[in-house]
Symmetry: C2
């Protein structure tokens, strides 16, 4: 039974973290809103009752409907063997995945500090201040954390020589930060994160995916947005 992934069709956003793991594992899935449009997504989500996802992305697999990016990835990792397969280490991977969730939320809050429902243009002053703090303090705090974690097993991947959802997610995080903060990222040096980024692009499924038209470019409707005024000079 194939997976149905539901996410906004025009941005990589949080959906891309799920896509990358599916593509790396060469698992079939239908990218529902890219086939059927954003209205179909809103209609599908709106028609679900009871315990349902709060927001996209969500994954439908038979009767199961799973929301929350890190949670979807933990489910898929179990089924397709891109976790550790060992409780203690799987717990660490999920924890790291949730740390990725946290920085992704903070990235969005940089350009929407006051409210996600106002335009960026209506909260630029606060965004300017938020970006300065994020660049100076939060990027190093999170990337130091991931860099330190990558020491654990010697790299290139978090577990050493086999990839997991944490690695494909760190790839996407680094890509996004480079897109959003090219000047700031050029000032920083994270050799282990660079190593894992390179190693992820060498996974067969990822290589094929990045060369395909399934891969969406970052853009200014997404989470990682390039507004030059928010980068360092």
């Amino acid at each position: 039974m194939s997976y149905q992934l539901w996410y906004w069709p025009n941005i990589p956003g949080r959906g891309e973290f799920v896509r990358l793991a599916l593509e790396a594992a060469e698992v079939d899935y239908e990218d529902m809103a890219r086939e059927h449009g954003a209205e179909a997504l809103m209609e599908d989500l709106g028609s679900r009752r009871g315990i349902r996802p709060f927001a996209p992305p969500y994954l439908v697999h038979g009767d199961l409907c799973i929301g929350q990016t890190a949670h979807i990835l933990a489910y898929l990792a179990d089924r397709h063997d891109f976790g550790a397969g060992e409780l203690e280490i799987d717990l660490q991977l999920i924890q790291l995945q949730l740390d990725v969730t946290d920085i992704v939320a903070e990235v969005h809050a940089v350009h929407h500090p006051v409210s996600a429902s106002l335009y960026y243009q209506d909260q630029m002053d606060a965004a300017y201040e938020a970006a300065q703090n994020f660049r100076d303090h939060r990027i190093p705090r999170f990337l130091d954390h991931f860099e330190l974690a990558l020491e654990e097993n010697g790299g290139p991947f978090m577990l050493g020589d086999r990839w997991t959802h944490v690695d494909t997610s760190l790839f996407q995080l680094m890509e996004g930060l480079d897109y959003m903060f090219p000047n700031r990222m050029a000032e920083l040096d994270y050799p282990r994160l660079e190593l894992v980024r390179g190693a992820v692009t060498d996974i067969d499924g990822v290589e094929a995916y990045l060369a395909s038209d399934r891969r969406l470019e970052f853009n200014e409707d997404g989470i990682f947005r390039y507004y030059p005024e928010l980068d360092s000079e």
Copy 2:
């Protein structure tokens, strides 16, 4: 082997979601930083290498060290039978717990929209705007979501007649929102959330806990803060 919970000693914060579940289940734990102070917490976290928690709360259990509130709760639920014990439903509970994580992060961002490392007093204008949006749009959006989920099994708890970590967390969420936004919350009506809140206070372990000096009051160093200017009039 007893659990060691590490969290800031002077605020309920995210640690309280873990405490409430442990207390409801009448599971022994040591509240390490309340016994040994915030410096001991910083020292313990700082001394951990490799894959380690990004921030408190974290739980130490023998060789395991688990960060991220929702993740800690999922681990404890498995071991102490306050999850569902059935894959499909446990997945739903974890998803809901992650939704609680999301609103808790948004609550903190209301009084710290620009940066968690600046004082509230230095970001009051943005906070004022953020609070208005949060009160008008985000509180109903999240509480509608939880209220709808509570319909699934008829209440009072999310699974019907047995409590889980989601219920103790919804209790704490409602308590926190009432503390922070008394006027706004008085305008809203969520009968199923009120029902679960009441039912949680009737759990023996919770009743004893709330009457003890282990229960910390909300205060203006925590996540849920009462600043009258951020509430509706």
